[in-house]
Point group: C2
Chain length 367, copies 2
Amino acid sequence: MIPFLDLKGINAELRDELLEACARVIDSGWYISGSELRAFEQEYAAYCGSRHCIGVANGLDALSLTLRAWIELDRVREGDEVIVPANTYIATLLAITENGLVPVLVEPDNTSFNLSPRSVTSALTRRTRAILPVHLYGRLAAMPELMKIAEQHDLLVLEDAAQGHGASLEGRKAGNWGNAAGFSFYPGKNLGALGDAGAITTSDEELAETLQALRNYGSHVKYRNLYQGLNSRLDEIQAAMLRVKLKHLDEQTAQRRRIARRYLDEIDNAAIRLPEWQREEEHVWHLFVIRCQQRDHLQKQLDRAGVQTMIHYPIAPHKQKAYPQFNHIELPITERIHEEVLSLPMDPSLSPEQVDRVIEAVNRACP
Amino acid sequence: MIPFLDLKGINAELRDELLEACARVIDSGWYISGSELRAFEQEYAAYCGSRHCIGVANGLDALSLTLRAWIELDRVREGDEVIVPANTYIATLLAITENGLVPVLVEPDNTSFNLSPRSVTSALTRRTRAILPVHLYGRLAAMPELMKIAEQHDLLVLEDAAQGHGASLEGRKAGNWGNAAGFSFYPGKNLGALGDAGAITTSDEELAETLQALRNYGSHVKYRNLYQGLNSRLDEIQAAMLRVKLKHLDEQTAQRRRIARRYLDEIDNAAIRLPEWQREEEHVWHLFVIRCQQRDHLQKQLDRAGVQTMIHYPIAPHKQKAYPQFNHIELPITERIHEEVLSLPMDPSLSPEQVDRVIEAVNRACP
Ligand SMILES: Cc1ncc(COP(=O)(O)O)c(/C=N/[C@@H]2[C@@H](O)[C@@H](OP(=O)(O)OP(=O)(O)OC[C@H]3O[C@@H](n4cc(C)c(=O)[nH]c4=O)C[C@@H]3O)O[C@H](C)[C@H]2O)c1O
Ligand SMILES: Cc1ncc(COP(=O)(O)O)c(/C=N/[C@@H]2[C@@H](O)[C@@H](OP(=O)(O)OP(=O)(O)OC[C@H]3O[C@@H](n4cc(C)c(=O)[nH]c4=O)C[C@@H]3O)O[C@H](C)[C@H]2O)c1O
């Protein structure tokens, strides 16, 4: 079986370095908010080109705490609207509703899967305060256009960069476009910890400071609480392991691009629609997502041919039980995407022979 | 300098076991919600005598998610009142306000530092829905009495057991008294991870199930979201290390009790009031807290004598900037406690000679 993502194998290659990182933290006697976190925050801010990086417990918290910080800073108010693509991982929405804000779900561009600037413009109302574009599957959203809209209408932009580590356009990386960006370092992400972790990048000093307190019970100085904060910290041990993995990110992204290039060049099956993109640097291929009208059938055939695939995602957020208030909304492009998408193995450790076999299986399938 | 808590040393003794746990998790290829978590949950539920244990990201989330689950289950409604001791770590309050509930701050018993059943009774109103006793400093709250009040008035009881791992009364441990209990495994706790971690114990099946979804984006089954949940999970690597540390908890508690016994027997200074307790098993001495009217002065003297102390806590929650709505409330017992308490070194790895030196320094101090 060709695995969808062989995390075990990927991390096994780094075993000694990872274990050394664990030993260093165990031996330090300091496990929370210490020197490994500070070093990782600096290294990751530098990687993204943003001034600040604030480590938090996970990607959902990264988004959620940013919105909360904006509320604390009175830049956003409860009940304000946040424009968000309807096709995303549900966490994007959870961050909005968690803060008493109103997600305005808009259809994505049918080709890029990303927030379409045009539909953002049509969704603007008097209550719109922010846009939350998602770099879905690893492709940078249309940031130049979205930033222009935001500027014209005085809106805040929060990038959901959970899937976009390192994607760039015009020399600017994900995490360095909006007023802030939320990253996830869930193990399966392009930059993945060995547990939950996340971060916010921003060049806004005031926001960074507020976030530093909000993640720490609302406190900058021990036992002095300015805000009703949360506990959402990035453990030293995860920070230390992320520092190891960050060193390998660019080489792994290059490897993902090579695999994507082969899939794009060599997959040839009339029943299957390949992903599109324009410039190499804008896509980091967190996922390689094809479309097929007989998706479930195709998935079964590939499974029988020894190719593991996944569906990102089978049910749109607005159709989830968690959101009865959105269940009636009709978003045909989004719903169609959810019926048709299939994610092929995308793993920097795939061998050329394994890629051959995936391509062969996909080309042979008659869904 | 005699350290307040030499975590580095404590964990150094377990270095091989801890590192082996890390290696096991790295090699497993599975980092979130896997077999280490399940094993720890079973072991810790068994330790507490409760039916379920649900690992979460930290102690604040343990409390907060429990209240949130009760809201989801319609047992508590927004705006309901929760009775809570006014002298506690601020996280206890944050869990309440995070859920739109109203903390009713009551004075503690001046001797036990814990919620006094009498003041609970006087604080009852039509809106009271829950009691949140804290096993402060490691001493079990007056659970038999509090449970009786709760039964009479049909109230839910959530134990804040962040400081009380293993404390027991009438053969029942902390975590097995209330309808649920929140534990913190912050590194400095009696059972401490090497990063953030927490858990809820409960014997309520429905609550346990709801919590299992709420900590995981509101989802039991991948990509199916029942609730607007959070991301609050206990990493495999922390679960594996907690399993190592759990094996040593009872022996470390015994050691804490030996040190406390010596402090109680040998400290003799008219300016200092020693902590009181009744039965050995009810106190696990997370902290050994003395009182002194010239507390700050005493702290300086001890510092000069090479004894590190801490203050738990210098500012009462209702006096924090985070809670302007409570700043005007007058709680003289609580405020006095905050002015007078001082925590002596309490570390299972203290040598008898170090304990001698602490006692000597305290006895010599003339604050
Ligand atoms: C746009 C957007 N915004 C916010 C978020 C929220 O960020 P978060 O809070 O950090 O999760 C996400 C998260 N996004 C992801 C989401 O995309 C989804 O990702 P997924 O690909 O379905 O994840 P998965 O199937 O659990 O793992 C992927 C593969 O990796 C293997 N694996 C996994 C684990 C955990 C392991 O230990 N070992 C393995 O071998 C199994 C699979 O083959 O579900 C996750 C729980 C979220 O974190 C997002 O996509
Ligand atoms: C009643 C109650 N309810 C809910 C909670 C919330 O639980 P939580 O969300 O898990 O924090 C608490 C938390 N309670 C504690 C709170 O009591 C307080 O504890 P503290 O004793 O002031 O903690 P500390 O000074 O940071 O650490 C204690 C000693 O340990 C050393 N140390 C510490 C760390 C982290 C390290 O890596 N290495 C070290 O050597 C330094 C100190 O000498 O502050 C913490 C942040 C909370 O988790 C609580 O008491």
